[in-house]
């Protein structure tokens, strides 16, 4: 047996802006085991639910993450709407869908940029983020914020979109779809990127399911599971097929995410065509009592929201399981037997968000 050594990786690492620490047990250059430790950015946001009015907490829920902020607000609101038996007006459900898909495009483009950056392909990183800027501008125009949107409220949404805004969004999506093409080609057909990603970190379907992978990570291993199929918001009315790939390697994960961007453009177009007129919110009366679980598909995978309310304006317990929490065990499986030099890239392919994992 070769001599073993332990290399600490993180919590500060040039490739990852997020604080995760791994003890990598190496035999020569090959990783035999990776022991993770997290807890460097715990902010106690779940606990805060006990001291904030349940309606105000929406603003805190969306601050759990700077990328999936819309989804976290949505998940929290949906859970409370179920507890309080509120029927969200159809227009609000469609608006939520449009914003949710815009978040997905923005998150995936961010990830593509980070991937290019991790490979040292700087100009591709710039191109991806240049495209992402258009989505952020649309967010700014429709919600008033680029990162934190504050448009969700219990019972609906706070801001409406008029015809011109919807048209602008659809036009921008069409434009972006054309611009995405060369970027997608660079990731999927360029010799350099392909040779870096193909066959790296293979996660077979059975292992992915056993380890509890979610989102693009699971779909890249060939399992057609997408929480949007549950039909929350307006997803039930839209045509949607989970995008899968069978290889389970880093290339497949990149491919799935790129195809999901195109799928999101399509969903936005469908939603904009079908959006009904009407009110955008229902009034909230009284205080919530009861408990409920909701699942939604965040850009990074399935997230779970649990609320236990006791009939006062303060909620007793709020629990949020983010996609990265579930993707850490499959990541550890993937890291086994890989080269030390591949570790940063492999961690990146799960699209980690450590800050939201620790809340």
């Amino acid at each position: 047996m070769a001599k073993r050594s332990i290399v600490p990786f993180g919590p500060q690492h040039p490739v990852l802006p997020e604080p995760v620490h791994l003890d990598l047990v190496l035999e020569d250059e090959v990783v035999v085991e990776a022991v993770p430790s997290i807890g460097f950015v715990h902010r106690g946001l779940e606990k805060l639910v006990e001291t904030k009015d349940f309606k105000e907490y929406v603003y805190i829920a969306e601050r759990v993450c700077g990328i999936c902020s819309f989804g976290h607000g949505l998940g929290y609101c949906q859970t409370l709407e179920q507890i309080m038996n509120l029927e969200v007006p159809p227009r609000a459900r469609y608006l939520r869908t449009i914003w949710m898909e815009m978040s997905r495009i923005h998150s995936h483009l961010l990830w593509l940029g980070l991937l290019a950056d991790a490979m040292g392909f700087e100009s591709l990183f710039m191109e991806s983020w240049k495209l992402r800027e258009k989505i952020l501008d649309m967010f700014d125009a429709t919600t008033g914020g680029r990162v934190i949107f504050s448009v969700n409220c219990i019972g609906g949404v706070l801001k409406d979109m008029d015809e011109t805004m919807l048209k602008n969004i659809v036009d921008t999506c069409n434009e972006m779809e054309k611009e995405l093409k060369p970027i997608a080609d660079a990731f999927l057909r360029e010799y350099t990127t392909e040779s870096r990603l193909r066959g790296l970190g293979v996660l077979p379907a059975d292992q992915a399911v056993l380890a509890g992978a979610v989102g693009p990570m699971l779909r890249a291993s060939g399992v057609a599971y997408d929480a949007r199929k549950l039909g929350y918001a307006a997803y039930g009315d839209l045509d949607l097929e989970p995008i899968t790939s069978s290889d389970g390697d880093s290339y497949a994960r990149c491919e799935v995410r790129i195809k999901e961007i195109s799928q999101s453009f399509d969903l936005i177009r469908q939603a904009a065509a079908k959006i009904p007129a009407g009110p955008i919110a229902v009034p909230v009366k009284g205080f919530p009592k009861g408990e409920y679980f909701t699942r939604i598909e965040q850009p990074r995978g399935e997230a779970i929201y649990y609320v236990k309310a006791n009939g006062t304006k303060f909620i007793e317990r709020f629990r949020l399981r983010t996609p990265t929490t579930s993707n850490i065990p499959p990541m550890l499986n993937m890291l086994k037997d890989c080269q030390l030099a591949d570790v940063p890239l492999l961690i990146l392919t799960i699209d980690p968000c450590i800050s939201c994992t620790e809340r």
């Binding site: 603003y59 700014d140 008033g144 706070l158 060369p182």
Partner: protein, 149 residues
Amino acid sequence: MSSLKFIPFAGTALRNLFRKPVTTSYPFAPAQYPERMRGHIEIDIESCISCGMCARSCPPGALTVDRAAGTWTIQRFDCVQCGNCVNVCPKKCLKMVPGYTTPDCTKHSDTYTRTTPLPKPAPRPAAKPAAPAAQAAPAASQAPAAKTE
């Protein structure tokens, strides 16, 4: 065949050499803000009735309302631009306007003082009479100092 695969991005890279930059050179070119942008809060203090709804529903507790002095104070650096105060204000005197607040080295607050006294709420005998404008000025200068962090 593999050399062909270089072409997709090489084209983009070459074209970029002759394109104008996509960024603007702020502050020489002014930033364009969309109409809905949540930049900062403004108050029409004369319509404010000092009900305190905004202060009670501000998630980070950035607002202080002093009914007696007729002042409304906002800790600019604590405000997270969520817009909740705008939604709950019964008199609709708060407004979210585009444009960021200026950066600063110290956390500062802005205090606004009502110059016209509140109309007396007649049916509530226990209610304190509104403060006259003369008293409001000194109290206003103390208000930010009284706020504990």
